[in-house]
Amino acid sequence: MKVFLRAITVTIALFILCGFAYPLAMTGISQSLFHKQANGSIIESNGRAVGSELLGQNFTDPRFFHGRISAVNYNTYKPEDKVPDKNGKTAYSGAASGSANLAPSNPALAQRVKNDMEAFLKANPDVKKEDIPADLLTSSGSGLDPDISPEAARIQIPAISKATGIGSEELNKIVEKYTTGRTLGIFGEPRVNVLKVNIEISKMLK
């Protein structure tokens, strides 16, 4: 019996310490030391919040760079996507994350890649099939990948230049500006933040 009593008191003490006191203290410290990051690294354009610099978005406009395939559509939606249809289902049912979890051997994966490849080649007629970087046609793990590889950005430039009238030179410079190299030259992979590049383009369009 004594062991039950001890188990209960120790549980309560650790519950208060680890479940409440510690997280609240760390929230206070984080909010004061790293205010921007602690609140989701929100990025603003023309004075209003347009996204997070760490989360990708679904871009459909041909004037913008496109990101990776997302199984959750980057949690982007239109107001009407939240209205239930006849069966009570909504096109958007709240924030999510993840991939479609297709196995390498799943025929649905190869089929999806083929379909997307066709659409990409149509939108980018100058591109040869074997030059398409794999990250553009594969789905990210999170469905929210904010980045594409520098190769994947460069290959989209001719079509975007045509759609926007912005010169390739200029677009190249924007891409370079938002390219991050390996951390300390060692860790991770070089990458381009798609949202930041597109915000820059959207400013030039006005």
Binding site: L17, T76, Y77, S93, L102, S139, I148, G188
Partner: protein
């Protein structure tokens, strides 16, 4: 560049192992440490309010205290899950959990498994993320660690007692887990992991659509998730989510936090035995197994997917399906190998989309369940194999086997046999059941051989208390919630108690003096015997299942 970043990460670990191992030794032996002035006050306050006396326990009393405490915690957390819709601090207005999902989730987190049949985005309130999940991440890690401490005390044989479970639990939490977690939390927030009490924010994008930005107290959960080798993510996508793992630097911090304590514990063992050579043997055996799996995973992922090659997609960048651009192949393969060796179960890429051999490296390490392992448990399993190895060698030369100066006899071998057999039993039997029943088969989402791998991976992960998954598996159903709940429970406690019993039994024996006929267990020869025993037992048990799953998928892929 890929190989260099992997080597540097492992080198950083090597630098940390010795100081961390010494510090852990101090904490579990009650030695002096420079931060005593602070922590002595915290600890004595906790001892005072909880009424914990620092009396010694025998191994039975220790095990009972652990079980009862874990039971009380599980019930508390189960109630929170069931009632979270009404308890407040729920800005995203998520509902309460249904009974079987709550059962599965409570067991999953108390057993340090963190198999998640829900997604954080819709499954938990902020209150549950902190008061249930974060709380259990500390206490389940501390419980496993405490069990390992008691086990080592028995093997070191200086005392017949196992220590005091409550003192161990509190000291490990306040002196190891909390302070290191604080540092990791701040590093992660600095890199971009949110830490706020508010809920999701909706923004209007530059294309005029809406986007939900998921927010919450992510960083405090994220830090102990790795440090405690828990692995359950705040969000569904786990450490591939940019808010859980925003940069390669955050990825490095997370990888090192997973490896730090399980690897250092092996060094601590040497200090407790006063025989560093013995801990080097154990460490070397673990490291060799790890360094075998790592290149398999890396090279397989780098080689890409032949089926996509056939579809015309250039695979020079490797198999990127389910991976994040910022991590690429090297950081993804390293994370996958580490998370399954150190049985964390966090993922920074989707394991279901790994190439068959990449997935096999992950699966294989969980099947062996001795490659460093989670908090304490992997270490205990490796010692279990060491005793088996001594026993087999003893049989071959016809001598009574000895380990660390104690005779290994029938009683110990029966317990060891039980602990070794339970692992494959709770993987293969439930997998077989799932493959012949409707509700089991209903979970499979990928066709062909990979479907079998999905089932096998799920039960292996549950039994090894890992928690990663081939996440395509539609596992939030009565069958999967109930079956994996039981597997996690047995996987955690049967071997833990059997091994505590072994250590208690050895501690009670008289020490046999070392003679010329003594079989040495602290040299290179024994390292290889140990690896051979682990691999032979593992291969004999799992080879048929592996052949039908990943191996068959590999041989037919792209054909």
């Amino acid at each position: 560049m890929g190989i260099i970043q992997i080597i540097i990460t492992l080198a950083l670990l090597a630098v940390l192992v010795i100081p961390a191992g010494k510090y852990i030794f101090n904490v579990i032996t009650g030695g002096k440490s420079f931060i005593d002035p602070v922590f002595d006050r915290v600890d004595s306050l906790i001892y005072k309010v909880t009424g914990v006396k620092r009396s010694e326990m025998g191994w039975k009393q220790y095990a009972i205290s652990l079980l009862v405490t874990n039971l009380v915690m599980t019930l508390l957390v189960y109630l929170i899950f069931r009632l979270q819709g009404h308890l407040g601090f729920n800005p995203n207005k998520n509902g309460s959990m249904e009974p079987f999902l709550a059962f599965n989730t409570a067991i999953s987190f108390i057993t340090n498994t963190n198999l998640q049949h829900y997604s954080g985005e819709w499954g938990l309130s902020h209150l549950s993320q902190l008061a249930a999940i974060t709380f259990l991440m500390f206490t389940s890690a501390a419980s496993g660690f405490a069990a390992a401490a008691a086990f080592m005390r028995g093997l070191a044989g200086k005392t017949k007692n196992a220590g005091n479970f409550f003192v161990d639990l509190i000291r490990i939490t306040t002196r190891i887990l909390l302070p290191i977690s604080m540092v990791i939390t701040l590093l992660l927030v600095w890199q971009g992991v949110p830490q706020t009490l508010s809920g999701n924010q909706t923004v209007t994008t530059i294309e005029g659509t809406l986007q939900d930005i998921p927010l919450g107290p992510v960083a405090v959960l994220e830090s102990i998730k790795h440090l405690g080798t828990n692995g359950g993510g705040f969000f569904g996508a786990n450490s591939s989510h940019p808010f859980e793992n925003p940069t390669p630097l955050a990825n490095l911090v997370e990888i090192l936090s997973m490896m730090l304590l399980p690897a250092s514990l092996v060094y601590t063992f040497g200090l407790m035995l006063k025989n560093k050579k013995q801990s080097r043997v154990i460490f070397a055996a673990m490291a060799i197994l790890f360094l075998t799996a790592l290149p398999v995973c890396y090279l397989a992922e780098q080689a890409g997917n032949p089926a996509l090659s056939a579809a015309g997609l250039n695979q020079a960048m490797g198999n990127l399906e389910g991976k994040e651009v910022r991590f690429g192949i090297a950081q993804s393969a390293l994370f996958t190998t580490v998370t399954t060796a150190f049985t964390t179960g966090a993922v920074n890429n989707m394991h279901d989309s790994l190439t068959p051999l990449g997935g096999l490296a992950a699966l294989g390490q969980m099947m062996l369940n001795v490659v460093f392992g989670g908090k304490g448990v992997g270490f205990m399993n490796m010692i279990m194999y060491a005793i088996l190895a001594v026993f087999l060698c003893g049989l071959m030369v016809g001598r009574t086997p000895e380990f660390l100066g104690k005779k290994i006899e029938g009683k110990e071998m029966k317990l060891i046999a039980l602990a070794i057999l339970v692992h494959p039993f709770i993987i293969l039997i439930p997998s077989a059941i799932a493959l012949v029943t409707g509700p089991g088969l209903a979970g499979i989402t990928n066709p062909g051989f990979h479907g079998l791998s999905q089932v096998l991976y799920e039960f292996t992960s549950a039994a090894a208390n890992n928690g990663s998954g081939f996440e395509g598996l539609a596992d939030n159903s009565l069958f999967w919630n109930f079956s994996t709940g039981l597997v996690m429970f047995f996987g955690r406690y049967i071997s833990m108690i059997a091994l505590l019993a072994v250590s208690g039994s050895l501690a009670a024996k008289r020490e046999v003096p070392v003679g010329i006929g003594t079989f040495k267990t602290d040299n290179k020869l024994f390292t290889f015997i140990l690896i051979a025993v682990v691999l032979i037992v593992g291969a004999l048990t799992f080879f048929p299942a592996i052949s039908l799953g990943p191996v068959a998928e590999h041989l037919t892929l792209g054909k």
